[in-house]
């Protein structure tokens, strides 16, 4: 007997219809120079379809929730009172200062603020910048996150409509961290926001990409961020995943760092039912530096997947990567960290560490550090651990009067702080610290 199952075609479910409809829309061809890029995205996705379980990069993460749910393409933002209210409330420790707010993947000028941005800095909508600043956008868009590199980047390239754009001219320093706040507020909607951050030579900026839900709608976000860090420039970025338990997100962040440039990425995941992040950093000039930190706190049935790539192609580049995860319930965390050291990348100094704390027998971690070294004069180390709380420590705390719950809370919090202390943006670090402390200790119990 053979059973025909619906939705098992590679580009299954609602997706062929989205592609077809969007291809015919005015938005698809609004910017003439981007038409070829979009068409490439479309063709690549139609060819590859979604990743299958046998795909090496998707061994531990099934895209089934994305292919099986019937999403609608997000065509306009759902800005109502609730969203406006939450846009003001979600500060992630950043009081005042510049903020770019996106609703359902669309930039909202009315909810955004440009306070504290120095002259010459351009911040706003990517869709607008594609027309008004094509000189800055065209040479970069789709060059770092290339259509065809992954199914989801292809899909985003075909379907994206808006996102955040930031340009910091050479030598300019933006002191105040820029909050890029994403709110999704429409049931069964799929959005494909796309961001481009460009730092000129010697420029400096901090960008906080925060993702939150004003309500508990079920939705899917397929986000792509490209960042171009020119010579001697420094970009400090944080990504805060704090969406509701009905949010599904797949994201790709692709960064290029030129000679003497600096890039730091701090990723904190506490929310979303399903989160996959592909983070790629190319160190393309000598003495370019990358620092990647991650802290995931997963509970319930959350699924968190970090795939990172640091590509050393020039000599004398240091890179540090430190990802930690805490798991309870039936949650699952995947870490796959690749470090490539190309033949020319002599004197590379790369260190990668992944540590996981399993607080439940039903939770599961899959960790795979991967070092591929083609140069001979390098210093590279990597290590991964999966462990439980040390019962001797718990007992020691108990002999000082602490309940086992509080003892475990303190020890778990200490485990998290060890990664958090490296986060680059102080206000964000403190905000996450406080919310973790509350979750792990004030509540008395971590659930």
């Amino acid at each position: 007997m053979t059973t025909a199952t619906a939705g098992t075609v590679a580009t299954g479910g609602c997706w062929p219809a989205h592609l077809e409809a969007f291809e015919k829309s005015a938005a698809f061809r609004r910017v003439p120079w981007a038409l070829d890029l979009r068409k490439t995205g479309l063709a690549s996705f139609r060819e590859s379809g979604f990743p299958t379980p046998s795909d090496e990069e998707w061994l531990y993460t099934s895209v089934e929730p994305i292919t099986s749910n019937a999403f609608r393409q997000s065509l306009a933002p759902n800005v109502d009172g609730l969203v406006a209210n939450h846009a003001a409330r979600f500060t992630f420790g950043l009081k005042g200062g510049p903020r770019l707010v996106l609703v359902d993947g669309f930039f909202s000028r009315e909810l955004s603020s440009f306070e504290g941005l120095p002259e010459g800095v351009i911040a706003g909508s990517l869709a607008e910048a594609m027309e008004s600043h094509s000189d800055l956008v065209e040479p970069r868009l789709g060059r770092l996150a290339r259509p065809g590199s992954t199914s989801f980047v292809s899909l985003n390239t075909a379907l994206f409509q808006d996102g955040a754009f930031l340009y910091v001219p050479p030598g300019r320093v933006v002191d105040a961290p820029i909050l890029v706040l994403h709110l999704s507020h429409a049931s069964y909607v799929a959005s494909h926001p796309r961001h481009l951050f460009v730092l000129g030579e010697g420029a400096q900026a901090s960008v906080v990409e925060a993702w939150a839900s004003p309500s508990c709608d079920l939705y899917f976000t397929n986000a792509v961020t490209e960042a171009d860090v020119a010579r001697g420039a420094a970009l400090r970025s944080a990504r805060i995943e704090a969406e509701s338990g009905n949010a599904f997100q797949i994201a790709s962040t692709q960064v290029r760092v030129a000679e003497g440039g600096f890039y730091q990425s701090d990723v904190a995941v506490t929310g979303a039912e399903f989160f996959r992040h592909d983070l790629g950093v190319r160190l393309e000039g000598e003495r370019a530096e990358a620092r990647l930190f991650g802290l995931s706190v997963a509970s319930g049935r959350q699924h968190v997947d970090h795939h990172t790539v640091i590509d050393h192609s020039k000599p004398n580049c240091p890179s540090r990567e430190y990802y930690k995860a805490i798991l309870t319930g039936r949650s699952r965390v995947v870490f796959n960290g690749k470090v490539f050291v190309r033949q020319d990348a002599q004197k590379t100094d790369a260190k990668q560490t992944n540590k996981n704390l399993l607080l439940s027998e039903d939770a599961r971690v899959d960790t795979k550090p991967q070092l591929e070294i083609f140069a001979d004069d390098v210093k590279c180390t990597h290590g991964a651990t999966v462990g439980q709380l040390d019962e001797d420590m718990v007992y020691y705390c108990r002999t000082r009067g602490l309940s086992p719950e509080v003892a475990r809370g303190i020890l778990t919090y200490a485990f998290a702080r060890d990664a958090l202390q490296h986060f680059a943006i102080p206000a964000v670090r403190e905000h996450i610290d406080q919310s973790l402390y509350q979750r792990l200790l004030d509540a008395g119990r971590f659930a």
Binding site: M393, Y395, R398, T399, R400, G401, L402, S403, Y413, A414
Partner: protein
């Protein structure tokens, strides 16, 4: 205060304590001596409530309550304190935070209001002066990277802050330099009172010159084989343990 009767305990199914009896009254200091492996730390851990030690027989009554039925934290809150022979390192948790958490749990239990960071830090400062503890240790993670002697001092520091009713010191003197030994002993002597009792496990008579015990017990093969006054420690120092050892311990040699 504490009544131990015919206590039997095992670790990993191996019997260690084999019928131990001990009676401690408020205000007393009891020294426990005995050869390596005789069960001194086992006794200390059983009294503190270590989950890996299985009590297989006997009773322990503390202030009229069945101690063995209490959780380690309830024992601590009711005034039992163990200074560990091997203090545990807790990376990432500062000494002062750790102590304040315990201190406030104990106060809550006694129905007293919690103490805030400022007031508690004042208290820590005072106590650290008395015990000659370097203040920088207060903000370092609990015991992490502490020298052996610093760990032992930190245990006594915790004791001084938590002010228990029954303090058990497991070889707190091992690893201390002469000045530290004096500082620790001074600290303990200052805490001696008619309401507070001490059980001091040691290998060295020297400590007992500073902390003068009311009773000295010799533990051998899981039993107390001899008890006496402070002069028993001097005699042991001279003659060793062979003459008091339990027959099965002598045979095992």
């Amino acid at each position: 205060m504490l009544e131990v009767k015919d206590l039997q305990a095992a670790v990993a199914k191996k019997p260690i304590l084999k019928g131990l009896s001990l009676s401690v009254k408020a205000g007393e200091v009891h020294a426990i001596m005995g050869p390596n492996g005789s069960g001194k730390s086992t006794l200390a851990q059983v009294l503190a409530g270590h989950p890996s030690y299985e009590v297989t027989g006997g009773t322990v009554t503390y202030e009229g309550k069945d101690l063995l039925a209490m959780s380690p934290e309830d024992r601590a809150k009711d005034g039992i304190f163990l200074a560990f022979q091997y203090p545990v390192e807790i990376p990432g948790v500062s000494n002062s935070y750790f102590l304040r958490a315990g201190y406030n749990e104990i106060r809550r239990h006694r129905g007293e209001p919690e103490v805030d960071v400022m007031d508690f830090n004042k208290l820590l400062k005072e106590k650290s002066k008395v015990l000659h503890i370097d203040e920088s240790l207060l903000n370092r993670p609990v015991n992490e990277g502490f020298s052996g002697g610093e760990k032992k001092r930190n245990e006594i520091f915790q004791l001084a802050v938590l002010e228990p009713k029954l303090a058990i010191l497991d070889e707190t003197d091992s690893g201390l330099d002469i000045d530290a030994l004096r500082a620790v002993s001074d600290g303990v002597n200052r805490l001696r009172s008619k309401d507070r009792a001490f059980i001091v496990v040691t290998h060295y008579q020297r400590l007992l010159n500073y902390i003068v015990p009311d009773f000295v017990h010799v533990l051998s093969a899981g039993r107390i084989v001899k008890s006496g006054g402070k002069e028993l420690a001097l005699e042991l120092e001279k003659r060793g343990y062979d003459w008091v050892k339990a027959p099965e311990a002598a045979e095992a040699r």
